[in-house]
């Protein structure tokens, strides 16, 4: 009896060991490609900047200090690094805006696909993924052609006589947001669709039957039930938006930087790797704080609804 139990136990141990072995490749990749470099970045942020880039191996908090503060060239006094803070603020603002807009555009799209007959849904999903086939850079250039002063939108508006002067869209925050909404919309549509597909549309009928208008059905029944999809989509859109690089650098021009561009600047022309590393870590911290706040908020409201 006891020996049978022991055999069962050792078999279980063997099983657990096998599972670890199977997951080893994934664990090694995560360790080498994600956690390792992150650790290096963390160390770099506490080192001194080398004169031509790179780092000097001595401890320094200059990198961290200059994330938020700047030293006056003449009298060495410290003041807030307004430029950095403005970029932080713009990044957060544009990312939240992008997330909200992708919900606004993505929700009806996902609803549309989820309510198609089953055999045509795959075709619609396929269409949603087509933009992924082309390089992000090319797509961003294409957007640039549409919104620049001599682009399609302005040309059409002028020809139609609505405006005399082209509207300046390119190199503004609006341009960055248009670009990011375009790029990240599929990342919102797909998880939204996944949760809407599971939605029991008889509940929608039940809502109509119980005197709920279309808007009330949307707000009280559909939205709470597809909320997991909204949360997943928001996370998938918000995180890359915050660190976006290509879109703001092409559509925002030089002066409308976002965090991604600021970091690139420090590792490139700025030759301040510790500062670049410190900003990177800060970016990560913002993402984590935002996520925690968002998930906690979303989770508790779910409890409140029942």
């Amino acid at each position: 009896m006891a020996s049978a139990q022991e055999t069962a136990l050792s078999a279980e141990r063997q099983d657990i060991r096998n599972r670890w072995l199977l997951s080893a490749p994934a664990l090694i990749i995560i360790l080498l490609a994600a956690i390792g470099p992150l650790f290096i970045v963390l160390i770099y942020s506490f080192l001194a900047a080398g004169p031509y880039g790179d780092v000097e191996w001595k401890f320094s908090t200059d990198g961290w200090i200059s994330v938020f503060l700047q030293r006056d060239i003449f009298d060495d006094t410290l003041s807030f690094a307004d430029a950095h803070l403005a970029i932080f603020w713009r990044s957060v603002k544009l990312s939240i805006g992008t997330t909200l807009l992708t919900i606004v555009f993505g929700f009806p799209t996902a609803y549309f696909i989820a309510t198609r007959p089953e055999r045509t849904r795959e075709m619609w999903l396929f269409l949603i993924t087509i933009p992924f086939w082309t390089n992000l850079l090319i797509r961003t250039f294409a957007i640039l052609q549409i919104i620049r002063n001599e682009g399609i939108i302005n040309t059409l508006l002028i020809k139609a006589g609505f405006i005399n002067q082209p509207i300046q869209i390119l190199f503004t925050d609006t341009a960055i947001m248009i670009g990011m909404v375009y790029v990240y919309l599929p990342l919102m549509v797909l998880p939204l669709y996944a949760s809407m597909e599971k939605l029991d549309f008889r509940l929608v009928e039940a809502g109509y039957d119980l005197y709920a208008s279309r808007f009330a059905v949307l707000r009280r029944i559909i939205f709470p039930l597809v909320k997991p999809g909204v949360i997943a989509g928001s996370i998938l859109v918000f995180i890359p938006s915050l660190g976006a690089y290509v879109t703001p650098s092409l559509l925002g021009g030089g002066k409308n930087m976002m965090l991604g561009n600021l970091i690139e600047l420090q590792f490139g022309q700025g030759r301040n790797w510790p500062l670049g590393s410190a900003i990177s870590i800060t970016l990560m911290a913002i993402v984590m704080i935002a996520l925690l706040a968002y998930v906690r908020n979303a989770g508790s409201s779910e409890v409140r609804h029942g």
């Binding site: 109509y208 005197y211 709920a212 709470p224 609804h305």
Partner: protein, 363 residues
Amino acid sequence: MPDKNAIEVRDVSKLFGTGDAQFAALDNVSVSIRENEFFTLLGPSGCGKTTLLRLIAGFDYPTDGQILLYGQDIAPLPPFKRPVNTVFQSYALFPHMTVGQNIAFGLEMLGKPKAEIEARVAEMLKLVRMEALKDRKTSQISGGQQQRVALARALAPQPKVLLLDEPLSALDYKLRKEMQIELKRLQHETGITFIFVTHDQEEALTMSDRIAVMSAGKILQVGSPWDIYDRPAVRFVADFIGETNFLHADVVSANDGRATVRLSSGKEIPATFPSGSSPQGKVTLVVRPEHARVAAPNGTSAHVGHIENVVYLGTDTHFHVRLDDGTPFIVRQQNSRNGHNGFAKAERVGIEFGQDVAQILKD
């Protein structure tokens, strides 16, 4: 008080699909449903009963015809503006709300004051005997309890008409029996007109004030359970509800709802026929198995044949008889405690009819 019509369906047709795939789920249907009545739409699946219910609820719109609610055409009203509520076959309870929130939903949507909603929810919970489960999630209660919540939710806004789409089909036999009585009680207590859809003839006979039997998009007969069972108008109704014997006969005379027919045995018996029809020539007769008896063949036998099978069922015995003209005939006889009815397989027997047991079918 004169009977008022809660719902009037006038020449309603509903076509689905296009071109060759087009079919009529409802084919020129007209029916009136009285106020405070327990009205049942009975038929096999695909007969159009659920479609008719959905047209009244407003989930679908008729291709043709009118639906009146207390004399008012409800065609232009979306479902959320119709004072009609539905109990869905799947219950369709909102999974993200508690029992209480589910019941309150319709009242909230109507913009009732909070205090009134709370009082009404409590009242509804009491009506369906679910007071203790107000704060449970709908996934934490049993199927029978979900059924009660669905009922309470639909009754809470005090609809003019309650539509029930096979609400008992997911319940097990015992619970279904309980709920049949419960539904009847609720209908009686609330005084709301119930339109109940089912494919279960026993359920329909048990609960309904009147039944409409449907097949292939048409209403074949409307009447009380007694009418439907004992005075079926057409073959489908007779066949769908209960066990039935069909006999060939010739009409000897017919007037004033009474006819005399001659059976193939040469015997003449009285028969009833549906109003509005004038039977003549060769007709089909319906005789229910419990309205006949087997006996030793003699002069009063309506038919003579031999027993092919005897099935003992506890309360009854079924005699499967082959008549001399080749028609099968089933007799159901109640058993007494002392031994059985005394006829065995292969024995020759006469079939005796009680008085007034035969109905002539229209078709």
